[in-house]
């Protein structure tokens, strides 16, 4: 005699299948990527996941049956369908609406989470995400995100830029011991990265952390002198150089730079930060003058 198993009620089926549904794509799913095998050969596909060993990427080709598995080294690049326009991202970035931007980017980057080692069209968004973490001073998050990229960087550019952000995160957290070695590790060429000033700022931060004031000022001066129209790193460079000129015993110069920041970057965070810096420097200068007068007497 066979015992008939009771039928599962529908909601139980849904519960059991839910995890599978979330990770498994079907041929019927709309393709979400364009896979380039060389410069001329590409096909639309749906990213399924990785093989158990993680060595291969699993795809479902549009209009084809069966799964395709490819080594990362076989793939030239994987381009994702980016829903957000560049203008939208830039708009939020320029308006310093970082929380919104972070959410937007997280959603946009989510499909690529398990495939950070695969070259593709998402690097500009990763870069904005890294910057957003940096400007919001989420150094722990920045370090973590950059280190995920550095585990198997998809390109040399990604490796170099993630390294520089790691340095910024470490110096931001006051963990600067390994930073000189990290900076030297890949022989990064500033002209080969997206934002050359990023390299100079990271180098300056390392020098600052190690008390090498002149070296730091030289790097910052490189940004101020040759990348003055850069709206991202230029104010950061000015801000740091103000603090260094102050430390060098040139309060007038430091205050003048703080004022410059307020005039040149109205309505930004820099304006507020520079105003606070100016007020701090003015107090310190006043204190120094009083001390000097006291000593003179």
């Amino acid at each position: 005699m066979t015992i008939r198993r009771p039928a599962l009620r529908p909601y139980v089926i849904v519960l059991i299948c839910a995890p599978l549904i979330s990770v498994t794509a079907h041929a019927a799913d709309p393709p979400n990527v364009q896979v380039w095998l060389d410069k001329e050969l590409s096909w639309d596909a749906t990213l399924v996941g990785r093989t158990h060993s993680g060595d291969q990427i699993r795809f479902l080709r549009k209009g084809k049956e069966g799964e395709v598995r490819l080594d990362v080294s076989d793939i030239l690049r994987v381009d994702y369908n980016i829903k957000t326009s560049r203008a939208e991202v830039m708009n939020l970035y320029l308006r310093e609406e970082y929380a919104k931007l972070k959410n937007l980017l997280s959603a946009e980057l989510a499909p690529a989470n398990g495939f950070l080692d695969v070259p593709g069209n998402l690097w500009p968004l990763h870069l904005v995400y890294l910057k957003t973490l940096y400007w919001t001073e989420d150094f722990a998050g920045l370090k973590k995100y950059a280190s995920r990229i550095l585990r198997k960087p998809p390109t040399r550019l990604a490796r170099d830029e993630a390294t520089l952000f790691t340095i910024l995160a470490l110096t931001g957290q006051g963990e600067h011991e390994e930073t000189p070695a990290l900076l030297a590790k890949y022989k990064i060429r500033p002209e080969a990265i997206t934002d050359p000033p990023l390299y100079h700022l990271a180098k300056a931060r390392v020098a600052m952390a190690h008390g090498e004031r002149n070296e730091a000022l030289e790097e910052l001066a490189t940004i101020v002198s040759f990348h003055a129209k850069d709206f991202e790193w230029m104010p950061a460079a000015l801000y740091d150089s103000a603090t260094l000129y102050m430390a060098r015993g040139q309060p007038d110069v430091a205050i003048q730079i703080a004022k410059e920041l307020q005039v040149a970057y109205p309505g930004t965070t820099w304006q507020k930060k520079a105003a606070a810096l100016q007020s701090k420097f003015e107090k310190e200068r006043e204190g120094g003058e009083k001390l000097f007068q006291h000593m003179g007497q």
Partner: protein, 941 residues
């Protein structure tokens, strides 16, 4: 075309194109078939249709008669429809005139229209077109008047309001009414939809604010401008440069900086203009695919065409515009410099040279980079900039100044060789160097520091002779005798110091020169004069830093006169007035020597115990212990002495710079060589072995190597010694070895033919421990090594250094003799003879070196076949130096051999026999040679 005229043009065309296009697009779209009737035969409706059709089909000449007829037939209409018809005619007639380029007619007809319909359906467009016509005529007052009227209307359509404001702002801008222009232009920038109009309004607004010097407002506005393509407008960029220049001229550098900074370089502007042109062309081409109404397409096409014309003109103008990039970077750099932001300034100055090395500003810029780096006190960077300049501009305006400054920097950094090199190179490149005397002085001073004293003397001498008016003449007058002093040419030194003191009574060198005069007199053996000079110095400069040295010199003089009490007194004063531990050391050790002469050994022990107490941290403790131990031994307390030595070695022996320990080791080695085998010696060796093990256990490498040296050298058994030496002579020991170990390693390695290790050991001793007393032996050892290796000149150079550094030492004579040996080996007999003769000319070197030198002079002659001369020198040896048996024996043999060569057989025999008869020579090897010679000559000895 002037810049402003050019700007007028480009600012107006594109915009006007839009306006006209916009108005034409607004025309009615009713079409009517053309009739083959004259206007007089047509009804009003037919006239309207015909006019409308002409306008639609852009056959404006056909439309015009119809429009005129409509107006003529309706002189004073009453019905609304008739009035509308009249208005249509009166408005479109001037529009057609515009299209046919009859602007004056258009103006007159618009005037009629606006009088008849001041608030008519088309009055807004009409007024804008009137303003446009005035703008085309550059009648800017009328543009203002027309647009102002329009702007005063309350319910004007926003797009037209923007257009009117734009024209109004532009007109005021052209009339240079900057203040009035700003408001409408900023309004257009903020409210306008057309990016091209926005961009042009931004340019004019920025320029107006600049002219008004409303700087803070400008800086609020500029960031917005820089989000539009206006940032690439050449007129704007030029205005910013001019604004920056103006602020710079007024000393308002912060503002100048902010105005210079947004300016784009010319290549960048051209690149951007190129990109905009490509983009405009692309958009124009895509218009027909846009699905827009044909009228709109045509008006947009006209807009893009006008825009392209404008951009092409800009590009042309920008291309023709003189280069400003270098000047701009220069100005930025100067501004940064004025603001004391020297890092930025330096990098920018340098970048001009980097980017445009052939540009006329490159030289000045690089020079300024150099001077800015100097201001930054960034020496390494300044030197780099300086050398870049010197290399790039050998004929440059600032070459002399830069070369002198670079030489001065090297001097200040005590980089003597670099100072000499750059100085000499500069004088080679510019023989008529304006600052030649100063450079000569720097070169001379550096030579002096490098102990290249003859070269230093030449340089100072050149200044004294060639540049008597130079501001370094006084310096040269001081350093010239100083160099003589160091060359031990005491007579010219004392003469010149004397002259100096007579001539420069207010010189900053006066005090020094007074002291040096005493030294020169002392060196010249005129102790009386020296004593007077030093006594006078002590009185005249009681606070001098040289007082301690003068007192010590007086101590030396009184000691030499056996006035030991006075000597000790002055040494004591010297110690009290000491400026540094060197003075203390000198006074203390000289006092000890006087005490030694007086047999006051206990006092010496006390003296050095106090010295150690007081100067344990900085004093020469190891040397003091050396003295104490020696004195204890001389007082018969040998055990105590050895204990002092051994405990001193143990305590201070791990520091290679405790040179006194090396002296102790050296003395102990000598002592052990002389001591007989005894229980005491065994005890000593046992103690030594224990300390050696202890040092190994404590990983005190330097101490271990010192003890190993002592232990090895104290061995009686050659095999044992050899084994220990093999352990010592290892390359890995070089790092930690102290001078005594290095010297032993060098000597032992030399004898073992391990030349590499020998050279390294001597080299390390000389380079790192040159102040050690053992440096002399190392120099000799290395010189000998060079001689063996055939590096004659290196050997000679080293021997010469020994002579100049240790002139009073007997080893200096040895060095001089070895110079002769090297030259003789090189068969340079004449020079070799001179070298040997130098040995014979120095009284202090009298001793075995004299007969030896005589022998080698004779040998030089003999080698050249000059047997008579050779004989004369050989003979002098056994006539004058009977006490030097080995050389006497050699002299006899060589003399006799010369006689043989001269075929004076009898004389030769006489010499051999005479030699054999001298009892003091009977144990020498040469006796056998003489006996064999006699036998060879057929005679019996």
């Amino acid at each position: 075309m002037s810049r402003s005229a050019w700007a007028n043009n480009i600012l107006s065309v594109a915009t006007r194109a839009c306006i006209v296009a916009a108005l034409l697009a607004a025309l009615p779209h009713n079409r009517c078939a053309a009739q083959e009737l004259t206007v007089y035969e047509m009804s009003l409706q037919e006239l309207y249709r015909a006019a409308s059709y002409g306008i639609q089909t852009r056959k404006y000449a056909n439309a015009t008669p119809n429009l005129r007829e409509i107006i003529a037939r309706l002189p004073d209409p009453q019905l609304d429809s008739a009035i509308r018809m009249l208005e249509y005619g009166m408005y479109h007639l001037p529009v057609c005139h515009i299209e046919m380029n009859n602007l004056d007619d258009a103006l007159a007809d618009f005037d009629s229209y606006l009088k008849r319909f001041p608030k008519g359906t088309y009055h807004e467009q009409a007024r804008i077109l009137v303003a446009e016509i005035h703008a085309a005529h550059e009648s800017w007052d009328k543009v203002v008047e027309t647009t102002q009227t329009l702007l005063n209307f309350q319910h004007i359509r926003p797009s037209r309001h923007v257009l009117a404001a734009y024209l109004n702002g532009e007109a005021k801008f052209r009339l240079e009414q900057w203040n009035k222009a700003v408001t409408p232009l900023i309004y257009v920038f903020e409210r306008g939809r057309d990016p091209d109009i926005q961009s042009e309004a931004a340019v004019m607004a920025t320029i107006s604010l600049l002219r008004l010097e409303r700087i803070s407002e400008l800086f609020r506005f500029l960031p917005l401008v820089y989000q539009t393509s206006a940032q690439y407008d050449i007129e704007l960029n030029i205005a910013l440069i001019e604004g920056g220049d103006s602020r710079f001229g007024l000393g308002e550098f912060e503002e100048a900086l902010l105005l210079y900074r947004p300016v784009y370089s010319k290549p960048e502007l051209l690149r951007q203009l190129g990109a905009r042109i490509r983009e405009a062309k692309r958009k124009r081409e895509l218009l027909y695919q846009s699905g827009m109404d044909l009228g709109e397409i045509l008006s947009l096409r006209r807009k893009y065409t006008r825009l392209l014309t404008s951009l092409e003109r800009q590009r042309e103008t920008a291309a023709k515009f003189p280069e400003y990039d270098q000047q701009l970077v220069m100005r930025l750099a100067e501004t940064h410099r004025q603001l004391e932001r020297n890092w930025e300034a330096m990098l920018q100055f340098h970048s001009i040279f980097d980017q445009w090395p052939g540009h006329e500003l490159a030289e000045e810029a690089l020079y300024l980079a150099f001077t800015t780096a100097l201001d930054l006190v960034a020496e390494e960077r300044a030197l780099r900039e300086g050398y870049d300049y010197l290399e790039a501009f050998p004929a440059g305006e600032f070459y002399e100044l830069v070369s002198l400054t670079v030489a001065q920097m090297h001097l200040a950094r005590e980089e003597w060789r670099d100072c000499v090199d750059i100085g000499i190179e500069a004088l080679d490149i510019v023989p008529e160097h304006e600052m030649r005397a100063q450079l000569d002085f720097l070169i001379g001073y550096s030579h002096f520091q490098l102990e290249e004293l003859p070269q230093a003397l030449d340089r100072f001498g050149e200044i004294r002779e060639e540049y008597p008016q130079s501001d370094v003449k006084e310096d040269a007058d001081y350093w010239h005798p100083m160099t003589h002093l160091f060359l031990q040419e005491y007579l010219p030194a004392r003469n010149e110091f004397g002259e100096f003191l007579d001539r420069y009574v207010e010189s900053s060198y006066l005090e020094d020169a007074s002291y040096r005069l005493g030294i020169a007199q002392y060196g010249d053996d005129d102790f009386d004069a020296a004593e007077k000079t030093f006594q006078q110095f002590v009185k005249q400069y009681p606070e001098s830093k040289l007082l301690a040295e003068a007192c010590c010199m007086l101590g030396d003089i009184y000691a030499s006169w056996a006035k030991l009490g006075e000597a000790v007194q002055y040494y004591t004063t010297g110690i009290q007035k000491a400026q540094n531990v060197v003075h203390v050391n000198y006074g203390t050790f000289q006092t000890a020597r006087v005490f030694e002469l007086q047999g006051k050994f206990e006092e010496i022990i006390w003296l050095f115990r106090s010295y150690i107490d007081q100067y344990e941290e900085v004093g020469n403790v190891s040397q003091a212990l050396y003295w104490i131990g020696n004195m204890q031994i001389r007082l018969g307390r040998e055990q105590e002495g050895f204990e002092t030595f051994l405990s001193g070695i143990e305590e201070y022996g791990n520091d290679p710079r405790n040179f006194g320990i090396d002296m102790i080791v050296r003395d102990l080695i000598a002592d052990q060589a002389e001591s007989a085998e005894s229980a005491k010696r065994r005890e000593f060796m046992k103690s030594l072995r224990e300390k050696l093990s202890g040092s190994r256990a404590d990983n005190k490498k330097t101490l271990e190597l010192r003890l190993l040296t002592l232990f090895a050298e104290s061995q009686r058994d050659a095999i044992q010694r050899g084994k220990m030496m093999a352990v010592l002579v290892k390359e890995r020991n070089l790092e930690h070895a102290a001078p005594i170990a290095l010297l032993t390693m060098g000597n032992e390695a030399s004898s073992r033919k391990k030349q590499k290790i020998a050279e390294a050991a001597y080299g390390k001793l000389l380079s790192e421990y040159g102040e050690s007393d053992l440096a002399l032996e190392a120099s000799m050892g290395l010189g000998d090594l060079y001689a063996i290796q055939g590096r004659g000149q290196d050997a000679i150079d080293l021997y010469r250094k020994v002579i100049s550094r240790f002139p009073g030492e007997p080893r200096a004579g040895d060095a001089q003799k070895r110079i002769g040996d090297v030259l003789r080996e090189q068969k340079n007999y004449s020079e070799a003879v001179l070298a040997y003769q130098t040995v014979l000319s120095v009284r202090d070197w009298r001793g075995p070196l004299w007969p030896e030198s005589l022998y080698w002079i004779g040998e030089c002659h003999r080698q050249q076949g000059q047997y008579e001369e050779a004989f004369a020198h050989f003979q002098r040896i056994y006539v004058l130096y009977e006490h030097y048996v080995p050389w006497m024996a050699k002299g006899y043999i060589a003399s006799a051999e010369c006689m043989e060569k001269l075929n004076r057989k009898q004389d030769a025999v006489r010499h051999y026999r005479e030699m054999l008869e001298r009892p003091e020579l009977k144990d020498t090897d040469e006796v056998k040679t003489a006996a064999e010679a006699l036998e060879r000559l057929g005679l019996d000895s």
